[in-house]
Amino acid sequence: MATTSETVNKFGKLFTDFEQISLVQIALILVACWLTIYLSSRVLPWLAERMPSRFRLLVLGAVPIIRLVMLVLAVLLIVPLVFNINLQNFVLITGTAGVALGFAFKDYVSSLIAGVVAVLERPYRQGDWVRIGGDYGEVVSVGMRAITILTPADDAITIPHERIWKENISSSNDGEHTLMCVAQFYLMPEHDAEAVREALRDVALTSAYLNWARPVIVVLKQRPEGTRYEVKAYPFDMRDQFEFISDLTVRGKLAIARAGGVEVSVPVVAGADQTA
């Protein structure tokens, strides 16, 4: 059985002698790390808004990567300054830390790890438009523990990264500069569907927001409440998505009327599947 002095000796070897720990050095590393993270999270989004839009997502995506790199770098630099790292100590430290964190900060650590996975796997990036659960919005920041999305209603919603373990993440643009926009119209069934479909397609083709490089599709579906038309097209900049849908809707209504169609309003029936 090990004596108390032997245990103290062993434990003492785990840490570097207090007098030898350079607190100034650690402080400098922490300050440099914090400063880099702070500056990158301020300067890069500012730059992204002023750069050509094709570089915007690229620049925004660099923010969490820089933060992750800086944090890893800080840990790698500070740990050897505080601990005597050998295999025995390494097992001891990770084991102790694992048990402590597992009990006390399980959810927090889960989110942190999910944050690292999110940076590497990129289910969402800053600037992307995502749907997580029932929330849809633009990812305005990707933090260590959570992301913040800004909804079309201007609500900022903080969502922990750990949601990626259990839920589907739906990204509308997936790193692209554009996303599909859909304008829906419901018409009385008696009309010239060919004419209405052509007219709605032309509405999209003459929109000032249209991305010429992407296709324009008009989808019809016969439903109990009428004939549903969906105009699917892409704006050249996803920040214009709501203006684009509004433009399609305003001009689509005129085009439908000119083509002899009559719109119907669809009563919302509880439990009815509106997305099918």
Binding site: H177, E198, A199, L205, A208, A213, A255
Partner: protein, 378 residues
């Protein structure tokens, strides 16, 4: 390009404020003013015809005329701002009927069957398709019908179209698949521009003045009277002009006009340089026009995206009335940017129609591209 301009100005500011180094050009920018007024003939002149371009177009179209195996439709695409009536002049020389654009857009397309029905094989020339079209839903079927009719060989035709209108028509009605591959003139690079200006310099309008580079005081264009042409600097100047103008001769001409300066008599705080400049002027037997390096004209940052939508619409349609613009813009408030665009010189109003100013076209194109708008093919 705007970024380069900003960087150049930043560099200049740093040089002046930090290192206290000033502009080392032979004639400083502060000693010059824009060459405007009755005395500066070339600064006010209309675009001089480019014989090189005229000849190339003639050769291409004459070859097409003489080759019966070719398609019945020839499409010629021009960059925006083409005002020299190249196709019209060629049609006139070739004795071919010309279809002039309508006064009301998209009202009706040139009737391929009904007009000129004396001879169905008679070639017609439609020089500016962009002046017929309107980017609105109700006019698209008519454009589509007309292009299909043309593609099916209703009438042999030479069709002129602006590059922006062609790009949009290719998306909206598949013009690029309906009609044969269009031809476009070869871009004017530095040597081509220099050769063109060399030809122009022999004309009387040019010979009234001596054109010297503000950078080093040397002659830019050759003349019989003065021979101190700096070949290297001239080559560099025209290279820069070609780059700034995207290789489009009429854009290069307008940028050239904006590069012309005369000296300001009221400035005398730099006696050495003033003396050197006056010496050069005194030795010249003609009034000297100083030519500064062509600089880009970036769009002000205060402009909203609505200004870009206006410029984009104007480029597709070449020139539009306010009423036509209102029909193609998604938001009525977009029109409120017109006064600012006019004031800042990015658009001009001619005969009640707005159009992008040719001299600022390269900056506008770059800005539209950077903002994600689809642009034409150069």
């Amino acid at each position: 390009m705007p970024t380069l301009g900003v960087l150049a100005r930043f560099r200049q500011t740093v040089r002046e404020r930090v290192f206290h180094k000033t502009d080392t050009a032979f004639v400083g920018a502060d000693m010059l003013r824009l060459a405007q007024g009755a005395g500066q003939a070339t600064a006010l002149a209309e675009l001089l015809p480019c014989d090189l371009l005229k000849q190339e177009l003639k050769n291409t179209l004459d070859r097409w005329l003489s080759d019966e195996s070719q398609s019945a439709v020839k499409v010629v695409v021009f960059p925006p701002g083409e005002s020299s009536q190249h196709l019209e002049n060629w049609a006139e020389q070739a004795g071919l009927p010309l279809v002039t654009p309508p006064t009301v857009r998209a009202a009706a397309f040139p009737a391929l069957q009904a007009e000129h029905n004396d001879d169905p094989d008679q070639i017609v020339v439609v020089p500016h398709l962009e002046l017929w079209i309107l980017r609105e839903q109700s006019s698209l079927p008519e454009i589509r019908r007309w292009l299909v009719e043309l593609a099916l060989g209703a009438r042999p035709c030479v069709l002129g179209c602006s590059s922006w209108a062609w790009a949009w028509l290719s998306k909206a009605v598949g013009a690029d698949t309906l009609l044969p591959e269009p031809v476009m003139f070869r871009a004017f690079d530095g040597p081509r521009l220099q050769a063109w200006f060399g030809e122009l310099s022999a004309q009387a309008m040019f010979e009234r003045h001596a054109y010297r580079l503000a950078r080093n005081g040397k002659m830019l264009l050759p003349s019989e009277q003065e021979s101190d042409v700096d070949e290297g600097a001239a080559k560099d100047f025209f290279q820069k002009l070609a780059s700034r103008s995207l290789g489009i001769p009429w854009v290069a001409w307008q940028i050239w006009r904006r590069s012309l300066r005369v000296y300001r008599e009221d400035v005398s705080d730099q006696p050495d340089r003033l003396e050197a400049m006056q010496k050069v002027q005194a030795e010249s037997d003609r009034p000297v026009i100083w030519v500064v390096d062509p600089e880009p004209t970036p769009l002000p940052k205060r402009y909203e995206r609505s200004a870009l939508r206006v410029l984009h619409a104007l480029l597709i349609h070449e020139a539009m009335t306010g009423e036509e613009l209102a029909r193609v813009l998604p938001i009525a408030n977009d029109l409120l940017t017109l006064p600012a665009l006019l004031r800042d010189g990015f658009i001009e109003a001619i005969d009640g129609r707005y159009r992008c100013h040719v001299a600022t076209y390269p900056s506008v194109r770059t800005e539209l591209f950077d903002a994600g708008f689809r642009v034409d093919r150069l």
